[in-house]
Symmetry: C2
């Protein structure tokens, strides 16, 4: 079944820990995931680079449980072991994570592998290596993820989209206010972190992003 | 083929980084592994909790390459993804790493899974969960690994050995000087870190440890 990459929520547990109001009810990460899915999120990527292993695993297992039956795939960032342990639909790998060829060998052909790219060359290498999609970014300047990579802007996203045939998901600094500026880049979708995680109403935020990024 | 657990070298890359003399020739970690295998090491466990992912992966791939054909199994500490990527023979898991049941599901029955235990209860749980062996420790006080766990001593190792049927490997603070004190504990072997990594001659250190721990 083809994946609908329209709107990815990157549920970043490290970022969420920083912004979470202690004791605030109804503001747990998986509650936000639920609400965002109701609002139109089509892919959930779980990221937790700094979380202790067992906490990440527990979060992955609970996310898989929540998403079961929704049709929304769960992608685990970086950790193939956690993806396997929680029966996730795939992994998203950065340029410093497991090499694509090794990941494909471990995961087989049935699981989704996405690759972070910043250049046309990286995008072509990901496609040639058998990636299912690329996450191209940063689309805009972002404070969520510390990175020294050059901002691509709508033009950079378009160049990557033109260079490859696999789906391109734009990521980095995207919110309902600037998503429209990406709309004619040709990207197959957008991925959002703070635009949903810091919103007072995650469902509404997802709805607004879907409307703003009409292609 | 049954594994000979007589002498495990825990090749701890983090510890080695701390003690390594910069620029000293012939003192790379894999060179020590080679020499130790020549001296009688029967299992190599690669541990690198603090190493960047790609460095750990590279080290694992090179270790697998070096050990191919020697009959000495390569066990990767903690990271199942790295074990799979470098075709290692198994993994060694601590009580905070991947749960045994999940690890067995991912790795299947053909790969070795060892579990760190400090108590008879943990040892029984590891055996009941399908572990291939346990690493019981700390046998003696150790500075290599920061731990608040109580030292088992020869008596504690003996209690664990009596409680289970799978092989017991004693670990923690073991060197050629105190290995003999463990000899009648019934343990199937010993695992050593600094006792080999800091020795001026790793081959000789392994030979001395084999002699000292004659059961």
């Amino acid at each position: 079944m083809p994946i609908d990459y329209s709107l990815t929520l990157v549920a970043d547990a490290d970022f969420f820990k920083k912004i979470a109001v202690p004791g605030a009810s109804g503001r747990d990460l998986l509650g936000i995931v639920d609400a965002a899915v109701q609002g139109g999120v089509t892919v959930v990527q779980l990221r937790a680079k700094a979380l202790p292993f067992r906490e990440f695993l527990d979060l992955g297992l609970r996310a898989a449980d929540r998403l079961a039956g929704t049709g929304v795939p769960l992608i685990i960032n970086d950790r193939i072991d956690i993806a396997l342990a929680c029966g996730a639909d795939g992994v998203h790998l950065g340029q410093e994570d497991m090499p694509l060829a090794a990941a494909r060998k471990i995961l087989g052909g049935a699981r989704i592998i996405g690759i972070s790219v910043n250049t046309v060359e990286e995008a072509r290498a990901a496609e040639a290596g058998g990636a299912d999609y690329v996450g191209a970014g940063p689309a805009f300047a972002t404070a969520t993820k510390e990175t020294a990579l050059p901002v691509l802007g709508p033009e950079g996203i378009r160049s990557i989209k033109r260079a490859i045939r696999i789906p391109v998901v734009a990521i980095g600094g995207i919110n309902a206010g600037n998503a429209a500026a990406l709309a004619d880049s040709g990207a197959d979708g957008i991925a959002v972190i703070s635009g949903i995680l810091v919103a007072p109403d995650a469902r509404r935020a997802a709805e607004d992003l879907r409307k703003a990024y009409k292609r």
